[in-house]
Symmetry: C2
Subunit: 161 residues, 2 copies
């Protein structure tokens, strides 16, 4: 049996990185989650060059993460809004935010939290669980890919032996 | 009131991207989750240049995501293993994997799933919920940052007005 192998071409993680896994792109998405929609606002808040911003916005629109729409009916000026596909990146954004808060924020620095606006309470910590809700540690997890074989690290070592 | 504002310097998402949000770095982490530990195995599987791989591994070790350790007690050869901090990236990896499967895999292409090795069952779909388990959509979410103000898109527009 072969170790689970994702070629760059068909791995959903690699494809996700291709589309949104680039520093500026993910910061643009972060701003979009904060409600930013205007080109000039993205530009000013991120301090990104116009060339770079235009390039990243085009890629995100072409990829279906953002949509361009008139700021008002009949208006010529356009804004950029998250599509349903873009909205669905919320788990990626929250996973990064929570991990960063846990590991990269120094004692005394303020934490950043995703909150439910209605209550002001922080959202629950994302956790990988089984379908019946048991928390799963990394040692209990494996990837089942194109080959259909699930493999944990330990099993792969055995297979290779 | 000000719109919630993360400078690049203190945003946990930006910090996370700085450390692991780079195409090769996240693919190295993906391979580490699959059980890859040896330099040559990373190199061969990713088809990455040795310069680029050495650079990325150093950054991940310096940042605390991977640790170098002898392959066996007293051995000179070293391997790279995920630290606890690295293990904890599982939510980021699973969020990207599940999003990629939902949005970037074409009909007929095989899905890639994170599974519980013991049962072979796919892990639960990550979902942003309140602490009492209610699923929350993007419109119900805001970010509370350094300023302590939570802001949704709609509220921010009101504040600006």
């Amino acid at each position: 049996m072969q170790r689970t192998d994702f070629s760059q071409a068909n791995c959903p993680i690699a494809r996700t990185l291709d589309l949104v896994g680039e520093w500026w792109s993910l910061l643009i998405i972060r701003e979009a989650f904060l409600g930013i929609t205007r080109y000039d606002d993205f530009q000013r808040r991120l301090g990104i060059s116009r060339n770079a911003l235009t390039d990243r916005l085009k890629k995100l629109v072409d990829g279906g993460v953002l949509a361009r729409q008139p700021v008002a009916e009949g208006a010529r000026r356009e804004e950029y809004v998250l599509t349903k596909m873009g909205d669905d990146l919320v788990t990626v954004v929250v996973a990064m935010l929570q991990w960063g808060d846990r590991w990269l924020i120094l004692p005394g620095e303020p934490l950043s939290r995703m909150v439910e606006t209605a209550t002001g309470h922080a959202v629950a910590t994302l956790e990988v669980t089984s379908n019946d809700g048991r928390p799963l540690g990394r040692a209990e997890l494996g990837l089942a890919g194109a080959s259909g074989h699930a493999g944990s690290a330990a099993q792969s070592e055995q297979r290779r032996a």
